[in-house]
Symmetry: C2
Subunit: 305 residues, 2 copies
Amino acid sequence: MWPERELVMFDLPSYLRGKQVWVNCGIGQVLTDMTYSGRLADAMRYAVTAGGKRIRPILCAASAEAVGNADESAVLTTACALELIHTYSLIHDDLPAMDDDALRRGKPTCHIAFDEATAILAGDALLTLAFQALSTFKTPSGTPAEKWLWVIRNIAEAVGAKGMVEGQMRDVASEGGTLTFEELESIHRLKTGALISASVTSGAALAQASPSQMACLKTYAQNIGMAFQVVDDILNVEGDKTVMGKAVGTDQARSKNTYPSRIGMAASKEKAKTLIGNALQALSGFDTRAEALRAIASYIIERKK
Amino acid sequence: MWPERELVMFDLPSYLRGKQVWVNCGIGQVLTDMTYSGRLADAMRYAVTAGGKRIRPILCAASAEAVGNADESAVLTTACALELIHTYSLIHDDLPAMDDDALRRGKPTCHIAFDEATAILAGDALLTLAFQALSTFKTPSGTPAEKWLWVIRNIAEAVGAKGMVEGQMRDVASEGGTLTFEELESIHRLKTGALISASVTSGAALAQASPSQMACLKTYAQNIGMAFQVVDDILNVEGDKTVMGKAVGTDQARSKNTYPSRIGMAASKEKAKTLIGNALQALSGFDTRAEALRAIASYIIERKK
């Protein structure tokens, strides 16, 4: 099934551009409404407008579209919250005490452009802002309060002490040491996979997905989440620094545990392909409204940055 | 009215001890349920069990009791969330990039006991855990989903970019410089006052407070919040390091803007007294069920740590 993907006519670049504008407008509005002007707001805005791909918000929207029937403004609020959380995690990951990165998306990282205290606080404020946005949505709307609570819980679980933060903790702790393949997979599942899953499932929940649709979308998300990380590792070895806007070869320099370092480059590429195949298989019960999700899966493996 | 407070028989130490046990049990349960074992969970538990006074959870509970009719387990969940957020803020405030404190509540701060990366992540995870706990509460219960959304929003607003984090940002930025009295007050209102207000108003909301009760309790909270900070500043000059479990004289050493440094010690003490008087006045319409809130107001000004 998977090699046939090339035949489908879906203009993904145009879709992605449209959604990026959509989520950027939403984020701009949230930042204007919910921050004072000043250094903290400047740092938050700097980090959040540094040119990310907006993959998580777009997955949220595409998942809602695949199911149908979502209230678009509810999806936008959730999409923005997901990107705010992703941005907070990048700011904190880049700090000197963690990955100590000076460059992100081709620009100085937040603690370089501002300072460390400001970067820590901007991250804290973005995380908080996400939950504020998710709880501020006006009822009455198409989306009942119970659904919002579900979305908040779904996202909080994904990014907390049994999700993204735990993944980052294990990642930092493992630097320089050697992990088993299972430990490496669990780090990726927690650090990257959990939020990608939450993005897809939150969008699906807002669109009133049935339990079986939800299960399929979860499988899709878990597979592309893992593929995303495998490709990230591959690009850190083979990628072009200019295209990527960040340093390459850094994983090896830090003796990080990556797919290429654990199973070799050829097996890593094979694994990415299998995962994307699984993801597409999970969508087989969906109609053409899932075309964006399908195209995104293919994009993940073909991306250069 | 305020000097007569001494005549009321209310065993505050016993009340506080009981509530501390109550909230500590709740926090222990949340940590057990919502974290893996390991270094991250250890750091979270270390910070949260370091012997805080649990003032915010207790205010939440006392406020709910003053109004009456709250579902106790809903109040407990909220009380725990407030303390988790307070603890996260202390961990991040103590970091080398911020206040650089090595001692907190008589014990090494989190980044000293563990390391900086772990401390940053433990703070992040505690903040996230608070929102997870608030959104995990099982419906059906006495507390409808709309009310939970209100509480989440109320707390998120208080601790984010227009609340606590902004206050910390302004506080860090002001070090070494001189603030106007208004700027100093705004820092305290944001950094300490906002979360204390949210503690009181969240408890009141869970107990179905009327708009006029809510307004009175907000006034109470704003006054004790400000008094709390004034007394903190006073204790940093006159307090006993052994009793307080942390260094004193640190504000002056860092040329921090404090009430004593701006308006002098005598005027600071007078101000604390006036604020507590205002707080008690705001409770005049409440019956004996508000006795705990009244006693806490008096305790704030009399505390030695």
